[in-house]
Amino acid sequence: MKNKIISLLGGVAVIVTSLTALYAPQAGAHGERSQEPFLRMRTVHWYDTNFSTNRVAVNEEMTITGKFLLAEAWPEVIMKPDVAYLHVAEPGPAVAKVETWLNGVPAAKSFKLELGKTYEYKVIVRGRKPGEAHIHPMLNVQSAGGLVGPGQWTLIEGVYEDFTYPVTTLTGEAIDLNTYGFANVVKWHIIWAIPALFWVLYWVRRPLFIPRFLMVQNGEEDALITSTDKKVGIALLIGTIVLVTMSSNSAKEQYPVQIPLQSAIIPVEALPVTPQNSAVKAKILKANYRIPGRSMTMTLDITNGSATPIKLAEFNSANVRFTNSLIPTLAKTDSAELWAKDGLNVQGEPTIYPGETARLEIEASDALWETERLSSLIGDPDSAFGGVLYFQGADGKTYMEEISGPIIPTFQ
Protein backbone atom coordinates (compact mmCIF):
# COMPACT_ATOMS: atom_id res chain seq x y z
CA MET A 1 0.00 0.00 0.00
CA LYS A 2 2.77 2.41 0.96
CA ASN A 3 4.56 1.65 -2.32
CA LYS A 4 1.43 2.43 -4.26
CA ILE A 5 0.97 5.78 -2.59
CA ILE A 6 4.59 6.72 -3.16
CA SER A 7 4.49 5.81 -6.83
CA LEU A 8 1.14 7.57 -7.16
CA LEU A 9 2.68 10.75 -5.77
CA GLY A 10 5.61 10.27 -8.14
CA GLY A 11 3.29 10.04 -11.13
CA VAL A 12 1.41 13.14 -10.06
CA ALA A 13 4.64 15.05 -9.62
CA VAL A 14 5.80 14.10 -13.12
CA ILE A 15 2.52 15.26 -14.69
CA VAL A 16 2.37 18.54 -12.77
CA THR A 17 5.99 19.29 -13.59
CA SER A 18 5.52 18.66 -17.29
CA LEU A 19 2.39 20.84 -17.36
CA THR A 20 3.99 23.76 -15.54
CA ALA A 21 7.03 23.51 -17.79
CA LEU A 22 4.77 24.31 -20.74
CA TYR A 23 3.34 27.31 -18.97
CA ALA A 24 6.63 29.02 -18.04
CA PRO A 25 6.51 32.58 -19.43
CA GLN A 26 9.67 33.70 -21.20
CA ALA A 27 11.67 36.78 -20.32
CA GLY A 28 11.79 39.43 -23.01
CA ALA A 29 14.71 40.96 -24.91
CA HIS A 30 18.01 40.34 -23.14
CA GLY A 31 16.44 40.74 -19.78
CA GLU A 32 17.07 44.25 -18.48
CA ARG A 33 13.34 44.80 -17.95
CA SER A 34 12.69 41.47 -16.35
CA GLN A 35 14.41 42.36 -13.09
CA GLU A 36 12.21 43.34 -10.19
CA PRO A 37 11.72 47.12 -9.95
CA PHE A 38 13.34 47.32 -6.50
CA LEU A 39 16.50 45.79 -7.96
CA ARG A 40 16.64 48.52 -10.57
CA MET A 41 15.34 51.52 -8.61
CA ARG A 42 17.10 51.16 -5.29
CA THR A 43 20.55 49.76 -5.98
CA VAL A 44 22.87 51.42 -8.50
CA HIS A 45 22.10 54.92 -9.79
CA TRP A 46 24.06 55.33 -13.01
CA TYR A 47 24.79 58.78 -14.38
CA ASP A 48 27.07 60.65 -16.82
CA THR A 49 27.13 57.46 -18.88
CA ASN A 50 29.08 57.95 -22.07
CA PHE A 51 29.86 55.59 -24.93
CA SER A 52 32.82 56.75 -27.03
CA THR A 53 31.04 55.65 -30.21
CA ASN A 54 27.97 53.76 -31.40
CA ARG A 55 29.71 51.83 -34.17
CA VAL A 56 32.88 49.82 -33.90
CA ALA A 57 34.64 47.52 -36.30
CA VAL A 58 35.66 44.04 -35.23
CA ASN A 59 38.93 44.42 -33.21
CA GLU A 60 38.24 48.13 -32.71
CA GLU A 61 37.82 49.49 -29.19
CA MET A 62 34.95 51.36 -27.56
CA THR A 63 35.18 53.04 -24.16
CA ILE A 64 32.28 53.26 -21.75
CA THR A 65 32.71 55.77 -18.94
CA GLY A 66 30.45 57.14 -16.25
CA LYS A 67 29.68 57.26 -12.57
CA PHE A 68 27.40 55.44 -10.25
CA LEU A 69 26.00 56.20 -6.84
CA LEU A 70 25.21 53.23 -4.64
CA ALA A 71 21.80 53.72 -3.04
CA GLU A 72 21.59 54.17 0.70
CA ALA A 73 18.13 52.68 0.30
CA TRP A 74 19.69 49.37 -0.83
CA PRO A 75 16.92 46.78 -0.25
CA GLU A 76 17.28 44.65 2.88
CA VAL A 77 16.58 41.47 0.93
CA ILE A 78 19.60 41.64 -1.33
CA MET A 79 23.27 41.32 -0.53
CA LYS A 80 25.34 44.48 -0.07
CA PRO A 81 28.06 45.03 -2.69
CA ASP A 82 30.83 43.52 -0.55
CA VAL A 83 31.95 41.49 -3.54
CA ALA A 84 31.24 43.34 -6.76
CA TYR A 85 32.56 43.17 -10.27
CA LEU A 86 32.33 45.55 -13.18
CA HIS A 87 31.22 44.16 -16.50
CA VAL A 88 29.07 44.79 -19.56
CA ALA A 89 25.58 43.42 -20.20
CA GLU A 90 25.09 42.37 -23.80
CA PRO A 91 23.28 39.65 -25.76
CA GLY A 92 26.12 37.13 -26.03
CA PRO A 93 29.77 38.18 -26.42
CA ALA A 94 29.17 40.83 -29.10
CA VAL A 95 32.08 42.77 -27.63
CA ALA A 96 34.97 41.42 -25.56
CA LYS A 97 36.03 43.22 -22.41
CA VAL A 98 39.61 44.44 -22.56
CA GLU A 99 40.07 46.70 -19.52
CA THR A 100 38.09 47.89 -16.52
CA TRP A 101 38.93 50.74 -14.19
CA LEU A 102 37.23 51.90 -11.04
CA ASN A 103 38.26 55.28 -9.63
CA GLY A 104 41.55 54.92 -11.48
CA VAL A 105 42.31 51.45 -10.08
CA PRO A 106 42.54 48.53 -12.53
CA ALA A 107 39.50 46.44 -11.69
CA ALA A 108 40.12 43.08 -13.29
CA LYS A 109 39.28 41.43 -9.97
CA SER A 110 36.32 41.86 -7.65
CA PHE A 111 36.14 44.79 -5.26
CA LYS A 112 34.28 45.90 -2.15
CA LEU A 113 32.04 48.96 -2.40
CA GLU A 114 30.28 51.19 0.11
CA LEU A 115 26.63 52.21 0.04
CA GLY A 116 25.89 55.91 -0.32
CA LYS A 117 29.19 56.49 -2.11
CA THR A 118 29.99 57.49 -5.67
CA TYR A 119 32.37 55.69 -8.03
CA GLU A 120 33.73 56.48 -11.44
CA TYR A 121 34.32 53.69 -13.91
CA LYS A 122 35.82 53.03 -17.30
CA VAL A 123 35.27 49.87 -19.33
CA ILE A 124 37.07 49.28 -22.63
CA VAL A 125 35.56 46.70 -24.95
CA ARG A 126 36.63 45.35 -28.33
CA GLY A 127 34.22 44.65 -31.21
CA ARG A 128 33.82 40.91 -31.62
CA LYS A 129 30.64 39.65 -33.28
CA PRO A 130 29.21 41.74 -36.16
CA GLY A 131 25.64 42.92 -35.82
CA GLU A 132 23.62 45.30 -33.71
CA ALA A 133 23.90 44.78 -29.97
CA HIS A 134 22.41 46.54 -26.98
CA ILE A 135 25.32 47.12 -24.63
CA HIS A 136 25.19 48.35 -21.03
CA PRO A 137 27.69 48.84 -18.23
CA MET A 138 26.81 46.41 -15.44
CA LEU A 139 27.77 45.93 -11.83
CA ASN A 140 27.69 42.31 -10.75
CA VAL A 141 27.05 41.95 -7.05
CA GLN A 142 27.53 38.62 -5.36
CA SER A 143 24.16 36.97 -4.59
CA ALA A 144 22.28 39.95 -6.05
CA GLY A 145 23.09 39.46 -9.72
CA GLY A 146 23.83 41.90 -12.50
CA LEU A 147 22.65 45.47 -11.90
CA VAL A 148 22.39 47.00 -15.33
CA GLY A 149 23.15 50.58 -16.40
CA PRO A 150 21.86 52.57 -19.38
CA GLY A 151 22.17 50.74 -22.69
CA GLN A 152 23.23 51.77 -26.15
CA TRP A 153 22.50 50.16 -29.52
CA THR A 154 25.94 49.57 -30.96
CA LEU A 155 26.71 48.52 -34.50
CA ILE A 156 29.61 46.10 -34.78
CA GLU A 157 30.93 45.93 -38.30
CA GLY A 158 33.24 43.54 -40.10
CA VAL A 159 33.75 39.80 -40.18
CA TYR A 160 33.77 37.59 -37.09
CA GLU A 161 36.61 35.45 -38.49
CA ASP A 162 38.91 38.50 -38.27
CA PHE A 163 38.44 38.80 -34.52
CA THR A 164 41.56 38.39 -32.41
CA TYR A 165 42.31 39.10 -28.77
CA PRO A 166 46.09 39.40 -28.52
CA VAL A 167 47.55 39.14 -25.03
CA THR A 168 51.12 38.76 -23.81
CA THR A 169 51.33 36.46 -20.81
CA LEU A 170 53.56 37.10 -17.79
CA THR A 171 56.09 34.68 -19.27
CA GLY A 172 56.29 36.79 -22.42
CA GLU A 173 54.33 34.48 -24.68
CA ALA A 174 52.02 36.18 -27.23
CA ILE A 175 48.68 34.41 -27.47
CA ASP A 176 45.23 34.98 -28.98
CA LEU A 177 42.81 34.77 -26.08
CA ASN A 178 39.88 34.15 -28.43
CA THR A 179 41.17 30.74 -29.46
CA TYR A 180 43.80 30.00 -26.83
CA GLY A 181 43.49 26.52 -25.36
CA PHE A 182 40.24 25.80 -27.21
CA ALA A 183 41.45 22.56 -28.80
CA ASN A 184 42.68 21.43 -25.41
CA VAL A 185 39.28 22.10 -23.83
CA VAL A 186 37.53 20.08 -26.55
CA LYS A 187 40.06 17.25 -26.25
CA TRP A 188 39.62 16.87 -22.49
CA HIS A 189 35.85 17.07 -22.68
CA ILE A 190 35.83 14.19 -25.15
CA ILE A 191 38.32 12.17 -23.10
CA TRP A 192 36.17 12.50 -19.97
CA ALA A 193 32.90 12.03 -21.83
CA ILE A 194 33.86 8.52 -22.93
CA PRO A 195 34.01 6.90 -19.45
CA ALA A 196 31.05 9.05 -18.33
CA LEU A 197 28.88 7.88 -21.21
CA PHE A 198 29.99 4.30 -20.69
CA TRP A 199 29.02 4.51 -16.99
CA VAL A 200 25.58 5.96 -17.73
CA LEU A 201 24.81 3.42 -20.46
CA TYR A 202 26.10 0.60 -18.28
CA TRP A 203 23.49 1.33 -15.60
CA VAL A 204 20.64 2.60 -17.70
CA ARG A 205 19.94 -0.91 -19.03
CA ARG A 206 19.07 -2.02 -15.49
CA PRO A 207 15.80 -1.61 -13.55
CA LEU A 208 15.47 2.09 -12.80
CA PHE A 209 13.64 4.34 -10.34
CA ILE A 210 10.38 2.76 -9.20
CA PRO A 211 11.12 -0.93 -10.04
CA ARG A 212 14.51 -0.44 -8.41
CA PHE A 213 12.93 1.17 -5.38
CA LEU A 214 10.44 -1.71 -5.10
CA MET A 215 13.24 -4.28 -5.29
CA VAL A 216 15.08 -2.54 -2.46
CA GLN A 217 11.84 -2.39 -0.46
CA ASN A 218 11.31 -6.12 -0.96
CA GLY A 219 14.84 -6.93 0.19
CA GLU A 220 16.05 -7.95 -3.28
CA GLU A 221 18.80 -5.37 -3.48
CA ASP A 222 21.52 -8.02 -3.80
CA ALA A 223 20.16 -8.89 -7.24
CA LEU A 224 20.75 -5.33 -8.40
CA ILE A 225 24.57 -5.48 -8.25
CA THR A 226 26.47 -8.43 -9.69
CA SER A 227 30.12 -9.31 -9.22
CA THR A 228 30.82 -8.08 -12.79
CA ASP A 229 29.37 -4.72 -11.78
CA LYS A 230 31.82 -4.54 -8.89
CA LYS A 231 34.77 -5.39 -11.16
CA VAL A 232 33.72 -2.77 -13.71
CA GLY A 233 33.33 -0.23 -10.92
CA ILE A 234 36.82 -0.90 -9.52
CA ALA A 235 38.34 -0.74 -13.02
CA LEU A 236 36.68 2.60 -13.65
CA LEU A 237 37.84 3.97 -10.29
CA ILE A 238 41.46 3.01 -10.97
CA GLY A 239 41.19 4.32 -14.53
CA THR A 240 39.89 7.67 -13.25
CA ILE A 241 42.73 8.08 -10.76
CA VAL A 242 45.30 7.20 -13.43
CA LEU A 243 43.73 9.67 -15.88
CA VAL A 244 43.69 12.49 -13.31
CA THR A 245 47.35 11.89 -12.42
CA MET A 246 48.38 11.66 -16.04
CA SER A 247 46.54 14.80 -17.10
CA SER A 248 47.89 16.77 -14.16
CA ASN A 249 51.45 15.69 -15.03
CA SER A 250 51.03 16.51 -18.70
CA ALA A 251 49.68 19.98 -17.81
CA LYS A 252 52.67 20.63 -15.54
CA GLU A 253 55.04 19.55 -18.28
CA GLN A 254 53.40 21.75 -20.90
CA TYR A 255 52.94 24.79 -18.63
CA PRO A 256 55.77 24.76 -16.08
CA VAL A 257 54.96 28.25 -14.77
CA GLN A 258 51.56 28.27 -13.03
CA ILE A 259 49.71 30.60 -10.68
CA PRO A 260 46.62 29.68 -8.69
CA LEU A 261 43.24 31.15 -9.61
CA GLN A 262 43.18 34.71 -8.27
CA SER A 263 40.41 35.51 -5.81
CA ALA A 264 41.55 38.56 -3.87
CA ILE A 265 39.23 41.52 -3.39
CA ILE A 266 40.66 44.90 -4.32
CA PRO A 267 39.94 47.80 -2.00
CA VAL A 268 38.69 50.80 -3.96
CA GLU A 269 38.25 54.19 -2.33
CA ALA A 270 35.05 56.06 -3.16
CA LEU A 271 35.05 59.48 -4.79
CA PRO A 272 35.29 62.32 -2.26
CA VAL A 273 32.07 63.91 -1.02
CA THR A 274 31.50 67.26 -2.76
CA PRO A 275 28.85 69.97 -2.40
CA GLN A 276 27.39 68.64 -5.65
CA ASN A 277 26.49 65.34 -4.09
CA SER A 278 25.84 66.41 -0.50
CA ALA A 279 24.53 69.98 -0.30
CA VAL A 280 20.91 69.36 -1.25
CA LYS A 281 18.63 67.38 1.06
CA ALA A 282 15.21 66.02 0.20
CA LYS A 283 12.51 64.70 2.48
CA ILE A 284 9.56 62.87 0.98
CA LEU A 285 6.22 63.67 2.58
CA LYS A 286 4.01 61.71 0.22
CA ALA A 287 4.36 59.63 -2.91
CA ASN A 288 1.62 58.12 -5.04
CA TYR A 289 1.53 56.23 -8.29
CA ARG A 290 -1.58 56.91 -10.36
CA ILE A 291 -2.25 53.79 -12.42
CA PRO A 292 -4.35 55.37 -15.20
CA GLY A 293 -2.05 58.02 -16.66
CA ARG A 294 1.13 56.23 -15.50
CA SER A 295 2.05 59.12 -13.29
CA MET A 296 3.99 59.36 -10.07
CA THR A 297 3.32 62.32 -7.80
CA MET A 298 5.53 63.34 -4.91
CA THR A 299 5.41 66.01 -2.27
CA LEU A 300 8.83 66.79 -0.87
CA ASP A 301 10.74 69.33 1.14
CA ILE A 302 13.98 70.38 -0.51
CA THR A 303 16.67 72.10 1.53
CA ASN A 304 19.28 73.92 -0.49
CA GLY A 305 22.55 73.80 1.46
CA SER A 306 24.62 74.99 -1.48
CA ALA A 307 25.73 78.55 -2.16
CA THR A 308 23.73 78.92 -5.35
CA PRO A 309 20.03 78.96 -6.32
CA ILE A 310 18.93 75.59 -7.73
CA LYS A 311 16.08 74.25 -9.88
CA LEU A 312 14.86 70.67 -10.13
CA ALA A 313 15.76 69.44 -13.61
CA GLU A 314 15.48 65.67 -13.59
CA PHE A 315 14.13 62.67 -11.74
CA ASN A 316 15.91 59.47 -12.69
CA SER A 317 14.89 56.01 -11.61
CA ALA A 318 16.12 52.69 -12.97
CA ASN A 319 17.80 54.51 -15.89
CA VAL A 320 14.50 56.11 -16.92
CA ARG A 321 14.87 59.88 -17.17
CA PHE A 322 12.03 62.29 -16.45
CA THR A 323 13.17 65.78 -17.38
CA ASN A 324 11.65 69.21 -17.31
CA SER A 325 11.81 70.75 -20.77
CA LEU A 326 11.87 74.27 -19.29
CA ILE A 327 15.24 73.65 -17.70
CA PRO A 328 18.39 72.91 -19.73
CA THR A 329 19.16 69.22 -20.02
CA LEU A 330 21.71 67.68 -17.74
CA ALA A 331 24.08 64.76 -17.87
CA LYS A 332 24.17 63.13 -21.25
CA THR A 333 23.15 59.53 -21.40
CA ASP A 334 22.61 57.65 -24.56
CA SER A 335 19.35 56.01 -23.55
CA ALA A 336 17.15 58.21 -25.73
CA GLU A 337 14.57 55.47 -25.65
CA LEU A 338 14.32 55.76 -21.86
CA TRP A 339 13.96 59.49 -21.80
CA ALA A 340 10.64 61.16 -20.99
CA LYS A 341 11.56 64.62 -22.24
CA ASP A 342 8.52 66.44 -20.93
CA GLY A 343 7.81 63.88 -18.27
CA LEU A 344 8.68 66.02 -15.23
CA ASN A 345 6.29 68.67 -14.03
CA VAL A 346 7.07 70.87 -11.01
CA GLN A 347 4.25 72.82 -9.36
CA GLY A 348 4.86 76.23 -7.87
CA GLU A 349 8.01 78.31 -7.67
CA PRO A 350 10.79 76.19 -9.23
CA THR A 351 13.82 78.06 -7.82
CA ILE A 352 15.14 77.16 -4.37
CA TYR A 353 17.51 79.77 -2.93
CA PRO A 354 20.57 79.02 -0.77
CA GLY A 355 19.60 78.16 2.81
CA GLU A 356 15.94 77.86 1.88
CA THR A 357 13.65 74.86 2.35
CA ALA A 358 10.92 74.69 -0.24
CA ARG A 359 7.99 72.35 -0.63
CA LEU A 360 7.76 70.94 -4.15
CA GLU A 361 4.93 69.00 -5.72
CA ILE A 362 6.30 67.09 -8.64
CA GLU A 363 4.80 64.77 -11.15
CA ALA A 364 6.72 62.26 -13.29
CA SER A 365 4.47 60.81 -16.00
CA ASP A 366 5.19 58.58 -18.94
CA ALA A 367 4.19 55.28 -20.50
CA LEU A 368 7.75 54.19 -19.62
CA TRP A 369 6.59 53.40 -16.07
CA GLU A 370 4.64 50.55 -17.60
CA THR A 371 6.67 49.60 -20.67
CA GLU A 372 9.85 49.46 -18.56
CA ARG A 373 7.83 47.44 -16.04
CA LEU A 374 8.60 49.68 -13.11
CA SER A 375 4.96 50.03 -12.07
CA SER A 376 4.94 46.41 -10.95
CA LEU A 377 6.58 47.77 -7.77
CA ILE A 378 3.03 48.23 -6.48
CA GLY A 379 2.91 44.45 -6.18
CA ASP A 380 6.19 44.18 -4.25
CA PRO A 381 6.11 43.19 -0.57
CA ASP A 382 7.56 46.59 0.38
CA SER A 383 6.03 48.94 -2.17
CA ALA A 384 8.92 51.35 -2.17
CA PHE A 385 10.54 53.32 -4.93
CA GLY A 386 13.93 54.94 -5.29
CA GLY A 387 15.69 57.35 -7.58
CA VAL A 388 17.84 60.43 -7.85
CA LEU A 389 16.83 64.08 -8.16
CA TYR A 390 19.14 66.27 -10.23
CA PHE A 391 19.13 70.02 -9.63
CA GLN A 392 20.57 72.60 -11.96
CA GLY A 393 22.53 75.23 -10.05
CA ALA A 394 22.82 78.86 -11.17
CA ASP A 395 26.59 78.26 -10.97
CA GLY A 396 26.27 75.79 -13.86
CA LYS A 397 26.89 72.76 -11.68
CA THR A 398 24.61 69.77 -11.15
CA TYR A 399 23.52 68.90 -7.62
CA MET A 400 22.11 65.49 -6.86
CA GLU A 401 20.18 63.84 -4.06
CA GLU A 402 19.05 60.25 -3.71
CA ILE A 403 15.44 59.74 -2.66
CA SER A 404 13.44 56.68 -1.68
CA GLY A 405 10.35 55.83 0.25
CA PRO A 406 7.03 54.03 0.27
CA ILE A 407 4.64 54.61 -2.58
CA ILE A 408 0.89 54.06 -2.69
CA PRO A 409 -0.95 53.15 -5.90
CA THR A 410 -4.17 55.01 -6.71
CA PHE A 411 -6.76 54.94 -9.47
CA GLN A 412 -7.70 58.66 -9.13
Partner: protein
Protein backbone atom coordinates in the same frame (compact mmCIF):
# COMPACT_ATOMS: atom_id res chain seq x y z
CA UNK B 1 -1.12 2.88 -24.57
CA UNK B 2 -4.13 4.26 -22.73
CA UNK B 3 -1.72 6.27 -20.58
CA UNK B 4 -0.22 7.97 -23.60
CA UNK B 5 -3.61 8.79 -25.10
CA UNK B 6 -4.80 10.39 -21.91
CA UNK B 7 -1.55 12.26 -21.46
CA UNK B 8 -1.80 13.59 -25.03
CA UNK B 9 -5.38 14.66 -24.39
CA UNK B 10 -4.38 16.51 -21.25
CA UNK B 11 -1.55 18.30 -23.00
CA UNK B 12 -3.91 19.25 -25.83
CA UNK B 13 -6.48 20.57 -23.40
CA UNK B 14 -3.83 22.63 -21.70
CA UNK B 15 -2.70 24.27 -24.92
CA UNK B 16 -6.29 24.89 -25.91
CA UNK B 17 -6.93 26.91 -22.80
CA UNK B 18 -4.09 29.34 -23.45
CA UNK B 19 -4.07 29.86 -27.20
CA UNK B 20 -7.43 29.06 -28.70
CA UNK B 21 -9.36 32.29 -28.18
CA UNK B 22 -9.32 34.93 -30.92
CA UNK B 23 -8.99 38.56 -29.94
CA UNK B 24 -8.14 40.46 -33.08
CA UNK B 25 -5.26 42.86 -32.53
CA UNK B 26 -4.94 41.91 -28.88
CA UNK B 27 -2.76 39.05 -27.73
CA UNK B 28 -0.99 37.85 -24.64
CA UNK B 29 2.56 37.66 -25.95
CA UNK B 30 4.77 35.89 -23.44
CA UNK B 31 3.77 37.58 -20.18
CA UNK B 32 2.85 40.90 -21.79
CA UNK B 33 -0.52 41.93 -23.12
CA UNK B 34 0.09 43.54 -26.50
CA UNK B 35 -2.18 45.50 -28.81
CA UNK B 36 -0.83 45.45 -32.36
CA UNK B 37 -1.64 48.45 -34.56
CA UNK B 38 -0.04 47.90 -37.95
CA UNK B 39 3.72 47.94 -37.33
CA UNK B 40 3.28 49.49 -33.88
CA UNK B 41 2.67 47.95 -30.51
CA UNK B 42 0.98 49.12 -27.37
CA UNK B 43 1.04 47.52 -23.95
CA UNK B 44 -2.58 46.93 -22.92
CA UNK B 45 -3.80 46.64 -19.31
CA UNK B 46 -7.30 46.42 -17.89
CA UNK B 47 -8.19 46.99 -14.24
CA UNK B 48 -11.36 46.65 -12.20
CA UNK B 49 -10.47 48.60 -9.06
CA UNK B 50 -13.79 47.96 -7.31
CA UNK B 51 -13.65 44.19 -7.52
CA UNK B 52 -9.99 43.28 -7.91
CA UNK B 53 -7.86 46.34 -7.03
CA UNK B 54 -4.60 46.40 -9.01
CA UNK B 55 -4.98 42.97 -10.63
CA UNK B 56 -4.35 43.27 -14.38
CA UNK B 57 -6.43 41.88 -17.24
CA UNK B 58 -5.75 41.26 -20.87
CA UNK B 59 -8.53 40.53 -23.38
CA UNK B 60 -11.76 39.61 -21.58
CA UNK B 61 -13.04 41.63 -18.64
CA UNK B 62 -14.19 39.34 -15.83
CA UNK B 63 -17.14 41.27 -14.39
CA UNK B 64 -19.43 44.21 -15.05
CA UNK B 65 -18.86 47.57 -13.38
CA UNK B 66 -16.08 50.14 -13.36
CA UNK B 67 -13.27 49.20 -15.73
CA UNK B 68 -10.09 51.17 -16.32
CA UNK B 69 -8.03 50.57 -19.41
CA UNK B 70 -4.48 51.84 -19.81
CA UNK B 71 -2.62 51.60 -23.10
CA UNK B 72 1.08 52.38 -23.24
CA UNK B 73 3.07 53.12 -26.39
CA UNK B 74 5.97 50.72 -26.77
CA UNK B 75 7.42 52.75 -29.63
CA UNK B 76 8.50 56.32 -28.80
CA UNK B 77 7.36 57.48 -32.25
CA UNK B 78 3.74 56.82 -31.33
CA UNK B 79 3.82 59.75 -28.89
CA UNK B 80 3.32 62.09 -31.85
CA UNK B 81 0.45 60.16 -33.46
CA UNK B 82 -3.13 61.38 -33.04
CA UNK B 83 -5.09 58.45 -31.67
CA UNK B 84 -8.82 57.73 -31.59
CA UNK B 85 -10.49 55.25 -29.27
CA UNK B 86 -13.92 53.74 -29.79
CA UNK B 87 -15.73 50.94 -27.99
CA UNK B 88 -18.83 49.48 -29.62
CA UNK B 89 -21.30 46.85 -28.50
CA UNK B 90 -21.65 43.84 -30.74
CA UNK B 91 -19.99 40.85 -32.37
CA UNK B 92 -16.45 40.89 -33.71
CA UNK B 93 -17.47 42.01 -37.23
CA UNK B 94 -19.89 44.76 -36.12
CA UNK B 95 -19.60 48.13 -37.87
CA UNK B 96 -19.28 51.22 -35.69
CA UNK B 97 -22.42 53.38 -35.66
CA UNK B 98 -23.60 56.12 -33.34
CA UNK B 99 -26.16 53.72 -31.93
CA UNK B 100 -23.77 50.97 -30.89
CA UNK B 101 -20.90 53.23 -29.77
CA UNK B 102 -20.65 53.21 -26.00
CA UNK B 103 -17.39 55.14 -25.67
CA UNK B 104 -15.68 57.51 -28.09
CA UNK B 105 -12.52 59.55 -27.63
CA UNK B 106 -11.80 61.63 -30.76
CA UNK B 107 -8.32 61.97 -32.28
CA UNK B 108 -5.86 63.40 -29.81
CA UNK B 109 -2.10 63.35 -29.26
CA UNK B 110 -0.95 61.74 -26.00
CA UNK B 111 2.53 63.15 -25.28
CA UNK B 112 3.30 60.82 -22.37
CA UNK B 113 2.56 57.79 -24.53
CA UNK B 114 -0.19 56.64 -22.18
CA UNK B 115 -3.86 56.54 -23.07
CA UNK B 116 -6.13 55.78 -20.13
CA UNK B 117 -9.89 55.68 -19.99
CA UNK B 118 -12.59 54.32 -17.78
CA UNK B 119 -16.02 52.94 -18.48
CA UNK B 120 -18.73 51.42 -16.34
CA UNK B 121 -20.12 48.34 -18.06
CA UNK B 122 -23.70 48.06 -16.77
CA UNK B 123 -24.35 44.59 -18.21
CA UNK B 124 -22.60 41.56 -19.60
CA UNK B 125 -22.08 41.30 -23.32
CA UNK B 126 -19.80 41.31 -26.30
CA UNK B 127 -17.90 44.41 -27.32
CA UNK B 128 -15.28 45.55 -29.79
CA UNK B 129 -12.50 48.02 -29.06
CA UNK B 130 -11.30 50.04 -32.06
CA UNK B 131 -8.04 51.98 -31.91
CA UNK B 132 -7.09 54.21 -34.84
CA UNK B 133 -3.76 56.01 -35.17
CA UNK B 134 -2.67 58.61 -37.73
CA UNK B 135 0.90 57.96 -38.87
CA UNK B 136 1.32 60.97 -41.17
CA UNK B 137 -1.44 60.65 -43.77
CA UNK B 138 -1.97 56.99 -43.10
CA UNK B 139 -4.72 55.80 -40.77
CA UNK B 140 -4.10 52.45 -39.11
CA UNK B 141 -6.97 50.64 -37.41
CA UNK B 142 -6.78 47.87 -34.87
CA UNK B 143 -9.88 46.01 -33.64
CA UNK B 144 -10.10 43.72 -30.66
CA UNK B 145 -13.33 41.94 -29.69
CA UNK B 146 -13.77 41.26 -25.99
CA UNK B 147 -16.40 39.97 -23.62
CA UNK B 148 -17.51 41.49 -20.32
CA UNK B 149 -18.64 39.35 -17.41
CA UNK B 150 -18.79 36.09 -19.36
CA UNK B 151 -16.61 34.34 -16.83
CA UNK B 152 -13.55 34.53 -19.07
CA UNK B 153 -11.64 31.41 -20.11
CA UNK B 154 -11.66 28.07 -18.37
CA UNK B 155 -9.57 28.54 -15.21
CA UNK B 156 -6.15 26.93 -15.46
CA UNK B 157 -6.26 25.59 -11.91
CA UNK B 158 -9.24 23.37 -12.75
CA UNK B 159 -7.30 21.85 -15.64
CA UNK B 160 -4.36 21.27 -13.32
CA UNK B 161 -6.61 19.66 -10.73
CA UNK B 162 -8.15 17.36 -13.36
CA UNK B 163 -4.69 16.50 -14.70
CA UNK B 164 -3.48 15.65 -11.20
CA UNK B 165 -6.52 13.49 -10.46
CA UNK B 166 -6.41 11.58 -13.78
CA UNK B 167 -2.63 11.19 -13.66
CA UNK B 168 -2.81 9.93 -10.10
CA UNK B 169 -5.59 7.46 -10.89
CA UNK B 170 -3.69 6.03 -13.86
CA UNK B 171 -0.51 5.58 -11.89
CA UNK B 172 -2.42 4.07 -9.00
CA UNK B 173 -4.21 1.61 -11.27
CA UNK B 174 -0.99 0.63 -12.97
CA UNK B 175 0.68 -0.12 -9.66
CA UNK B 176 -2.28 -2.10 -8.30
Amino acid sequence: MLNKTIAALLFGLFFFSTTASAHGGLSADKDLCILTIGAYKMHFTGYQPDSSATKEFCEDIPSTGLTIVAMDAMDRKMKNFPTEIRVIEGEAEAEATDANTILHMPFKVYPTGNISFEHRFPKEGKFVGIVTIKDGDEEIVSRFPFAVGMGGGFPVWILLAVAVAVGGAITYKKMA
